[in-house]
């Protein structure tokens, strides 16, 4: 589990602002937290100049941050290796996904899941290697499901994936499966996030696979794959979700969304919106569901999977 301490990070400025006399706040694109520079001094003045220039030139800086105090301890220009790590960990603007409000009661499942018919997302254009048929999607699903910690192993990957603990950690499970889909099978893999972020909406799921209790979330995420299906001479591409925590096979996106609005679990069960993001998106960084963090080297992913490997969902 992440510990708050001084951290060195390559970050880019979103804004520099002075909410009141004598106070300058620094907002980074990669951080939700607002930072300030500690009391004035030669080093602080140098840092302030570097940060202002970085904002003007839209260039990243290497900063030592103290999240506990919300302070920037030092600022330096990033080296070539820092820039490479920064580039890998960032979702470029042209790869940002699509977030849409959804009304499950009015969703037409006969058309909703058909890619490029009703379901259009510009990021689909960035990767063309879609899964050729449902049998291949099922094979990928089964491989991921077989890595479930509750099965006891032996596992093909490490750490195992705690599908049995659906209460938390969906972001880490999704990212690990995304790694499998893109590196072992070499198919396109986006992520789909669902959100309950309007009014009293709550994602509510009956965890039938893990004892039948109800589980509540404000968001959920799983790998989204595009699967071609033939109907005679006609071929359509469907958006399907790989989520062994909830299902025993790949399911249509509409099925996945509907399962999170179980009114038997909560009268407020509803999906407010969904967001199709590149596979690099790890977790949301704001409540509106439009900004996402990344985990390019899978360090957060593996830490969370390890932490949750022995936990269970229902009492």
């Amino acid at each position: 589990m992440a510990q708050i301490k001084e951290e060195t990070a390559v970050v880019s400025l979103a804004a520099v602002r002075s909410p009141r006399r004598g106070v300058t706040e620094y907002l980074f694109l990669e951080r939700q937290q607002i930072f300030t520079l500690p009391a004035a001094g030669a080093r602080s003045a140098d840092s302030a100049r570097l940060l202002s220039r970085a904002l003007r030139e839209q260039a990243p800086v290497k900063a030592v941050l103290d999240p506990r105090r919300g302070e920037i301890l030092s600022v330096d220009p990033p080296g070539p290796e820092d820039l490479e790590v920064f580039r890998r960990g960032r979702i470029p603007p042209e790869e940002r996904g699509t977030t849409r409000a959804v009304d499950l009661a009015r969703l037409d499942p006969t058309t909703f899941d058909v890619v490029d018919l009703k379901l259009k997302a510009p990021i689909f254009r960035l990767c063309k290697r879609t899964i050729p048929d449902y049998a291949t999607a099922k094979k990928i699903f089964d491989f991921c499901a077989k890595q479930g910690c509750y099965l006891g192993g032996p596992f093909d990957i490490t750490p195992c994936i705690p599908f049995q603990y659906v209460i938390d950690g969906c972001y880490a499970r999704a990212h690990k499966m995304r790694r499998i889909i893109t590196t072992k099978y070499r198919y396109c893999c986006e992520k789909v996030f669902s959100f309950a972020n309007q009014g009293n909406d709550t994602l509510a799921v009956k965890a039938d696979k893990w004892g039948g209790c109800c589980v509540y979330w404000w968001y959920h995420v799983a790998p989204l794959v595009r699967v071609r299906v033939r109907f005679g001479k006609l071929s359509l591409t469907f958006a399907m979700v790989i989520d062994p925590g909830m299902f025993d096979q790949p399911v249509l996106l509409s099925t996945w969304l509907a399962a999170q609005a179980n009114t038997g679990c909560s009268p407020n069960a509803n999906v407010s919106m969904y967001s199709i993001q590149p596979g690099s998106a790890y977790w949301p960084t704001d409540f509106s569901g439009t900004a996402f963090g990344t985990d390019p080297n899978y360090a957060l992913t593996d830490g969370t999977l390890t932490n949750y490997q022995n936990l269970t969902t229902c009492p």
């Binding site: 589990m1 992440a2 510990q3 708050i4 951080r31 939700q32 937290q33 607002i34 999240p67 506990r68 105090r69 919300g70 209460i167 938390d168 969906c170 972001y171 972020n197 009293n200 709550t202 994602l203 509540y216 979330w217 404000w218 968001y219 959920h220 995420v221 977790w283 949301p284 960084t285 704001d286 409540f287 936990l311």
Partner: protein, 80 residues
């Protein structure tokens, strides 16, 4: 007051949203899909609720102590 390190009961979490309910305040954190709860009957409810709202406004993480390991009920909030 010294702050212990994270463990199964303590997590460093950034409030993303706070929502009023009859008996509890529901708290959503950026680092977890769970909906956490702070009971209105908690002896220190006002302080904890204020700390969560201040951290939400500042976009700053807090050290959250849960009533049980990996639980969903908030027992304490410490602001750095």
């Amino acid at each position: 007051m010294p702050v212990d390190g994270p463990d199964d009961r303590r997590r460093d979490l950034t409030p993303a949203h706070v929502r009023e309910r009859a008996d509890v305040v529901e708290v959503m954190f950026a680092e977890s899909p769970r909906i956490f709860r702070l009971s209105r009957s908690h002896a220190d409810f006002d302080r904890l609720s204020s700390a969560l709202r201040a951290s939400l406004a500042a976009g700053r993480a807090v050290r959250v102590t849960l009533t049980v390991p990996h639980g969903g009920d908030i027992d304490d909030v410490q602001v750095p």
